[in-house]
Structure formats: structure tokens, C-alpha cells
């Protein structure tokens, strides 16, 4: 790939990236969220019908404007989100698009199942190919997905975070397969956040940041510190002003929170005016923890206390009325009312507060909406245009404003600036700072490390559903957080953590030894 670019409305997601992958090589692609890894690979797999730059496969220049074209040129891609049809048998999924048929067009079931069984065997699955995909576990499905892509006999294989749902043994098995494919001369692109995996399997590493290629290293030259530095960059000091938060008493206390299969025995405390960051890789259970904490999702065990009063699990409306609110990570799915005017979005969380005896107060609504519209600098022709017509950054401002309007005691922010341009990001950060200055406690989930490090007073690190430790402001750096989230960094022992955080702090739930992976 030479000088490949892809422009999204408002941002250049991939900026003239050169990437060369040799046959018989495992080439790791690393970078923070939003660095452009997935976009680059989507270009390669023919997701977009417009991009700039050249792509050459086997010396030949090709245009990849549809997934079918990409497939034809031998590009096989295993996506992070699975693309299997759940009610259909494994065999039909694996061989979708080229089911063996006789000359009447009828499927030859025997041949179908036999071929599928061979592919399953190759990826180490002893499953009956007649079973429906819906009946097997997510990690088995992940391997089926890989079998499906391999059955197309690709010459370039792209794996996007393939191990996120695999156990240790399955990961080892996958690595054996990758090594075997490498021997057979495939070019393999391996996308991962997990440093140990990259060092185990890759021959070379390319790091992307902000859509640009930061350099390619052979694995012999690379060290974890070096890679992390390349990924993280040096943007914090310019962007985040020094802040002197006034941190008060404990507002929210979470004790032994557990939701089976998502997070386990999580305890922490949050204080007035404090911004508490929550770090972790995707799949570490951060979002799930936040949603259960406020009552949007079930909680199996543990208690959440706000100002000493217990928050009933599963009753989000009550939590909101008490001032514990959650800003969703997916504004399109459950954040905004895209088909309603901005003004109505801004006051959507105030229906209870702006009504007396069941009657609503339009004048009050309008005044609040107008004030928020102005203070957050929402760029729109008027507050009466539909929220869906706004740009991502402005949508995100509206979403934040909806919660600012409720003057919450505790605000949980889940990826508050995802897919947002720099100006909007700064405005959102200013709004958050204004809120904490008034005493609101913020729990910040962010995969944007400069943001997490720049905004947080303290950071909790989650890994595989457990809280594995916490870092104070003075020890925060992008490198440290990234290494910790990878389970790479030796924390001070839990005991020191407890004594250092003092009043209101809770012992971290798990020590380092208890984690699954090294």
C-alpha cells in the first residue's frame, strides 16, 4: 500500500500511509483507538469505494472498491465483530458463497459437511459442522470465522484483534495456525493492542498514530517501551492545562460489584469534584461496569451507594433523579433522539424535573435549551434542526449538554470524545472541567489515552473484568497506563495503594497474581 488516504467527513482517518507486507511474514499493526488501523484494513478489504493512493498485490496494481473485488485478489479479513449468520449451520457459514452443488443446483450436503469438517479441524475445533452457529460459544465462533476466511484460500490474511475472545489455549492454537500459514507463504497482518502477543507472533511491527505511519520496526529492534512511546506521542502538555481540583468527601461508593461474565468484585470510591479515570483494553469490562453501576444493566452482586443512600440496581430512572447519570458510548444507538430537534434533545432528561402535577413547562424547557445551546457552542443553524443533521462533535456536545442540564452529582462519561474533532473535544473538556469545579464527581472511561491521562485525578485499571490497581495523578503517563492495561506493569502492592488513597478508598479487588495472562 502506498500513500493510502481515506477521508471521513471532517477528519482524515488515514493520511498517506505506506505499508508493505511480505509473503511469509506476520506484520503487526498497532496504534491507539482512532489511530486508523481499522480504517486502513477496511480499505484493503474493499469496504470503501473511494480512497486515494495505490494498492499493489503481488506486484500488480489493483483497485479494491468492493469486498468481492478484495476477495478475488486474495484478501481475507477476520473482523473484530463476527460476520456469521447465527441460525445457520457452521458448515454453511464456513462455505457461504461457494456451497458445493450438483448440476441441478441442489446442495450436496455430504460434500459440504466433509469440507467444512476439514476446515474446522484445521483451526482446532472438534465441532459438528451441522450445528447452528448460534449454539456455539463466542470463542468457538471466532475460530469458525477464521476457518471461513481461510476456506477462501487468501494470499493476504488480516486478523483484527483475533484473540479478544479467546482463552489462552485457543490463542496458542491460533498462533500455531498463523505460523503454519506463514510457512505456506501467506502475508499476514495482525492488529492488536496486546503487546505480549505482538512480541510472540510478529516479525515486524508498524505503528499508526492519528492516521499517520509512525514507523516500522523489526521485532528484534522493538521493545514494549519503544512501541508505547510511538503510539502515545507527546500531546498532553500542550492540550491539557494544569488543573487544581478541589476534591471533597466521598460521593459514590461501589462495593463488590459483580455481573457474571462481565466484571467481578469491583470496589471503589468517588469523591466530590474528582475525575476518576477508568483504563482498560476493549473487553476489559469498563462499559459494562458503568452501565450496571447506574442501573441500565443488571448487577448480580454488590451495592452502589450515593451520598450514603443505596442505589437500587436496575432502576436507572431513579438513579438519574438522584443525580447519578451515564453518558453512553454509542450516541447513535441509545444517546440521541436523532429525529427530534436539538432543543428537545437538550431537555430530554428533564421531563420529570420540568413538570408540575404532570403538566410540562415549555417556557422552562426552551430557556434551558437555549442556554445550553449557547454555552456549549453547538454549531447548528438553530436549536430546531434535527439532532441527526449535526456533525459527530456537535452531536456529542448535545449529548453531554443533556446531562449537564440535570446538574448531576456523579457523571459517568463513556468515551465522551470518540470520533470528535479537536475543537469540539476541547469544548467538551472545558464543559467537564466546569462541572467538576462545581463539585460533580466524574467517572471517565476513555480509550483516548492523552484524554484519560490529561483529565483524570486518579486512574483505576481494569483487566479482564477485574480492577487490578490504581494510579495517582503524579504517576500517570500514557505509557504507564497502556502498560498497566496490558498487565505489564508491576503496581505497588494493594496494601500501599490502600494506605495512600486514604479516606474513602477501597482495597483493589485483585492482586497481580490473580490475573489470567502474564
Amino acid at each position: 500500500m502506498e500513500a493510502v488516504s481515506k477521508r471521513y467527513p471532517g477528519t482524515l482517518a488515514v493520511d498517506r500511509v505506506d505499508l508493505g507486507v511480505n509473503a511469509g511474514e506476520v506484520h503487526a499493526l498497532m496504534g491507539e483507538n482512532g489511530a486508523g488501523k481499522s480504517t486502513l484494513m477496511k480499505i484493503l478489504s474493499g469496504t470503501f469505494n473511494d480512497y486515494d493512493g495505490l494498492i499493489r498485490i503481488g506486484g500488480q496494481t489493483v483497485t479494491l472498491h468492493s469486498p468481492a473485488e478484495a476477495k478475488e485478489h486474495g484478501v481475507g479479513m477476520v473482523h473484530q465483530e463476527l460476520s456469521l449468520a447465527r441460525p445457520i449451520s457452521i458448515a454453511e457459514n464456513v462455505l457461504a458463497g461457494r456451497l458445493p452443488a450438483n448440476r441441478w443446483g441442489l446442495i450436496q450436503r455430504k460434500a459440504l459437511f466433509e469440507e467444512a469438517r476439514q476446515w474446522l479441524e484445521y483451526v482446532g475445533l472438534a465441532l459438528d459442522p451441522r450445528k447452528a452457529v448460534g449454539e456455539i460459544s463466542p470463542h468457538e465462533a471466532q475460530l469458525v470465522e477464521i476457518a471461513k476466511v481461510l476456506s477462501n484460500k487468501p494470499c493476504i490474511l488480516v486478523l483484527d484483534e483475533p484473540t479478544s475472545s479467546l482463552s489462552r489455549e485457543e490463542t496458542a492454537r491460533l498462533f500455531d495456525i498463523i505460523r503454519d500459514l506463514k510457512r505456506r507463504g501467506l502475508a499476514i497482518v495482525y492488529i492488536s493492542h496486546h503487546l505480549p502477543e505482538v512480541f510472540e507472533i510478529a516479525d515486524r511491527v508498524t505503528v499508526l498514530r492519528d492516521g499517520r505511519n509512525m514507523g516500522t520496526l523489526s521485532i528484534a529492534e522493538a521493545t514494549p517501551q519503544k512501541l508505547v512511546q510511538m503510539m502515545a506521542g507527546q500531546t498532553i502538555d500542550e492540550f491539557y492545562a494544569a488543573r487544581h481540583p478541589e476534591i471533597g468527601d466521598t460521593v459514590l461508593r461501589a462495593v463488590h460489584l459483580t455481573r457474571r461474565a462481565y466484571f467481578h468484585d469491583v470496589s471503589f470510591a468517588l469523591r466530590r469534584g474528582e475525575t476518576l479515570g477508568l483504563a482498560g483494553l476493549s473487553g476489559s469490562g469498563r462499559t459494562e461496569l458503568a452501565r450496571s453501576l447506574c442501573g441500565l444493566d443488571p448487577l448480580h452482586y454488590g451495592t452502589v451507594a450515593l451520598h450514603g443512600g443505596i442505589i437500587q440496581p436496575g432502576d436507572y430512572a431513579r438513579a438519574v433523579s438522584k443525580g447519578l447519570v451515564y453518558l453512553t458510548e454509542d450516541r447513535k444507538a441509545d444517546g440521541l433522539f436523532l429525529r427530534l430537534p436539538v432543543s428537545q434533545n437538550l431537555v430530554a432528561a428533564l421531563t420529570a424535573r420540568h413538570s408540575t402535577m404532570g403538566l410540562c413547562r415549555p417556557a422552562k424547557d426552551a430557556a434551558v435549551a437555549q442556554r445550553l445551546f449557547t454555552t456549549l457552542h453547538v454549531v447548528a443553524p438553530s436549536p430546531e434542526v434535527d439532532a441527526g443533521t449535526l456533525s459527530g462533535g456537535n452531536q456529542q456536545k448535545v449529548l453531554l449538554a443533556k446531562w449537564l442540564a440535570t446538574k448531576p452529582h456523579v457523571l459517568i462519561l463513556d468515551e465522551p470524545t470518540r470520533g470528535v474533532d479537536v475543537t469540539a473535544k476541547r469544548q467538551i473538556h472545558e464543559a467537564i472541567l466546569g462541572l467538576t469545579a462545581q463539585g460533580t464527581a466524574v467517572l471517565l472511561i476513555s480509550s483516548d489515552l492523552p484524554e484519560l491521562v490529561g483529565m483524570s485525578d486518579r486512574v483505576l485499571v481494569m483487566r479482564q473484568g477485574r480492577l487490578i490497581g490504581e494510579m495517582q495523578r503524579q504517576e500517570l503517563s500514557e505509557e504507564a497506563v497502556l502498560l498497566a492495561a496490558n498487565g505489564h506493569y508491576a503496581f505497588r502492592t494493594p496494601d500501599t495503594v490502600t494506605s495512600n488513597t486514604g479516606r474513602g478508598a477501597v482495597r483493589p479487588a485483585a492482586s497481580l497474581q490473580e490475573q489470567g495472562r502474564p
Partner: protein, 331 residues
């Protein structure tokens, strides 16, 4: 600041007026067409008869609007709710006219409550669930009353005679049913625009997921929407039973589809969250005018159904097109 505030609310009022204007333009066109079709069309008598003709439909449409508006598309059990309310009212006439009417409405509300609970709390698909309820209720009524029609006593002075009389009550020249319909529309309009419930219904209709994560008790809102629809249908059902002078399971058939048609041509989006009651009233008027003109032209009832069906298809197609034009991204 203050002037800006009022101007923004004025703007949204203007938008509402503009959206409603469309359906009234159609109604006006039909009025002109009616005058051209027959000289007898534009008489007070005929216009009142048009209104009485659509009064029951108007009541049901008024209730159905809550269902559509809150994103639940349609309550297909409203026809059986109408029949059931009527039957219960007739069956309990021995208790006196007032208790009978109350019990009739309560019976309808019970169905609405059940629907609201299942759709709101258990997230059942509203169309499929209410279809099943309609099927069940029809069987239930046929079984309980052994397929019979229930006749009220019609001796003068009995509650039965009073029951049959309510359909024919008038204040001056205006029939009671027209007044009740107008009252329901007025109340519905106020509820939708001026109450917390109305506002939350719009949010739930626009996006159930976003409403939930804005701290709105979605299941409660959906519950009361179904209750409101059942209430309107019960009132209409009692009038319908009074008109027919008998209670029977098949009364109310066809009202579901006609009501949805009125709601949708009145500008309430099938996808929820958009539209308003004055538009629905316009939709009801258009259906009334259309039916009346077709009758004047000597078009038979079955062919009228074909026309109503075509109008529905055209309007839904147009709405879908509009949504797509706004961008599939957020339609």
C-alpha cells in the same frame, strides 16, 4: 435571551402548523370536489352527517394516535376491545345504566392494561402481540356467549332503552357522538403537548433506547399509551353497540385499519415520535369526506375499501420516501 427563546418556540409552532396544513389542504380540496359532485353536499345537514359518520372512527383514531406516536405502530386489538366493552356493558345493564357503562369502559381498560404491560415491560412486538390478543378475545367472546348476540331490553324506562338511546342523543342539532369525539381530540391534544406524559411519549416514540438511557421509565409510558388507546376504543365501542342495539364479538371489525390510516395520513409517522393530534383530526375528516363523496357518487362500500386501502399505501409510501430523503442515517 428571552426573545430568542420565544422565537425558537414560535418556530417549532410554525413547523407544526405547516405540517398540519397539508392534511387540511387535502380536506379543503375534497370539500370543493364534494360541492362539484353534488349540490346537496354543502348543507349543514350533510356536513353534520359527515361528522357523525366519522365520530366513532375519530375516537378510535384518537386513541390509536397514542400507540403510533409512542413508536408502537398499531394496536390491532382495538376492534375486539370495542366489541368487548359493548358486550360487557350490555351484559351488566341489570345493574343500571351508569354502572353498566363504567363496567364496559373498565373491561376495555383491562385489555389495554394487559397490552401495555406485555409490550412495555416484556418488550413484546406490539403488532404481533395485539394481533394475538385480538384473536384470543374473539374466541373468548364467542365461547363465553356461545356465539350469540346480546340484546338489551328495549322496554321504555329500562336501562336497556337508555343504553340504546345514548347513540342518538343530541344537543340541539349536534349529536352527542360528535361532541364526545371533539372532546377526546381536545383532551388528547392537551395531553400530548402539555403534559410530561405526552412529552415522554414522543421521546419513547423517537427512540426507545435513547429514552431509556435518558432516565425515562419507558415501560410506564408505553403502559399508559395502551391504556389511553383502550379507553378511547371502549367509549367508541359502547356507542357502536348502542347504535347496533346489540353486543356481539364482531362489532368494531375494520376500525383498526381505518384508524391507522387516519393517523398516518394525519402525519403521524409510523416510525413514531412525529406528528400531532390536529393532524389526526384532519386525517379523520379526509376519510369522512372521501367516504361521503364516494357515497354521493354511488360507489359501493367494497370499492370504497379499495380506495381507502390505496390512500393508505400511497401515504405510507410517501412517508417512507420522506424519511429516506432525510438521510437513511437517522431515519
Amino acid at each position: 435571551m428571552n426573545t430568542q427563546t420565544t422565537s425558537s418556540s414560535k418556530r417549532s409552532a410554525a413547523r407544526t402548523a405547516l405540517e398540519t396544513a397539508g392534511i387540511y389542504a387535502v380536506a379543503a380540496t375534497l370539500l370543493v370536489a364534494g360541492v362539484l359532485a353534488s349540490p346537496d353536499f354543502l348543507t349543514a345537514e350533510n356536513l353534520l352527517s359527515i361528522l357523525s359518520g366519522v365520530a366513532l372512527l375519530g375516537m378510535v383514531a384518537c386513541g390509536m394516535a397514542f400507540i403510533t406516536y409512542s413508536g408502537n405502530m398499531a394496536d390491532l386489538s382495538l376492534p375486539t376491545t370495542m366489541a368487548f366493552s359493548g358486550i360487557i356493558a350490555v351484559a351488566s345493564l341489570s345493574l343500571g345504566i351508569v354502572p353498566a357503562l363504567l363496567l364496559g369502559v373498565l373491561a376495555g381498560l383491562a385489555i389495554g392494561a394487559m397490552n401495555g404491560l406485555v409490550v412495555g415491560k416484556l418488550n413484546a412486538n406490539p403488532i404481533l402481540w395485539t394481533l394475538a390478543v385480538a384473536f384470543f378475545m374473539e374466541g373468548f367472546m364467542r365461547f363465553t356467549w356461545s356465539n350469540n348476540q346480546l340484546y338489551p331490553e328495549i322496554e321504555p324506562g329500562t336501562p336497556g332503552a337508555a343504553f340504546i338511546g345514548i347513540f342518538r342523543l343530541r344537543t340541539g342539532p349536534v349529536p352527542l357522538i360528535v361532541l364526545v369525539m371533539l372532546a377526546l381530540f381536545a383532551v388528547a391534544h392537551l395531553v400530548m403537548t402539555r403534559t410530561r406524559f405526552g412529552r415522554e411519549s414522543r421521546l419513547v416514540g423517537s427512540s426507545r433506547a435513547a429514552a431509556r438511557s435518558s432516565g425515562i421509565r419507558v415501560s410506564r409510558v408505553v403502559f399508559f399509551n395502551f391504556l389511553a388507546a383502550a379507553f378511547a376504543a371502549s367509549v367508541a365501542g359502547i356507542f357502536l353497540t348502542s347504535m347496533n342495539k346489540l353486543g356481539v364479538f364482531y362489532l368494531g371489525q375494520g376500525y383498526d385499519f381505518k384508524a391507522v390510516t387516519a393517523v398516518v395520513i394525519g402525519g403521524v409517522m409510523l416510525s413514531g415520535g412525529r406528528g400531532h393530534i390536529p393532524g389526526v383530526f384532519g386525517g379523520v375528516l379526509v376519510i369522512g369526506l372521501l367516504t361521503n363523496i364516494m357515497t354521493f357518487l354511488g360507489i359501493t362500500a367494497f370499492r370504497q375499501n379499495i380506495v381507502t386501502g390505496l390512500v393508505f399505501i400511497a401515504v405510507v409510501g410517501f412517508q417512507q420516501y420522506q424519511l429516506r430523503a432525510r438521510g437513511k442515517d437517522y431515519a
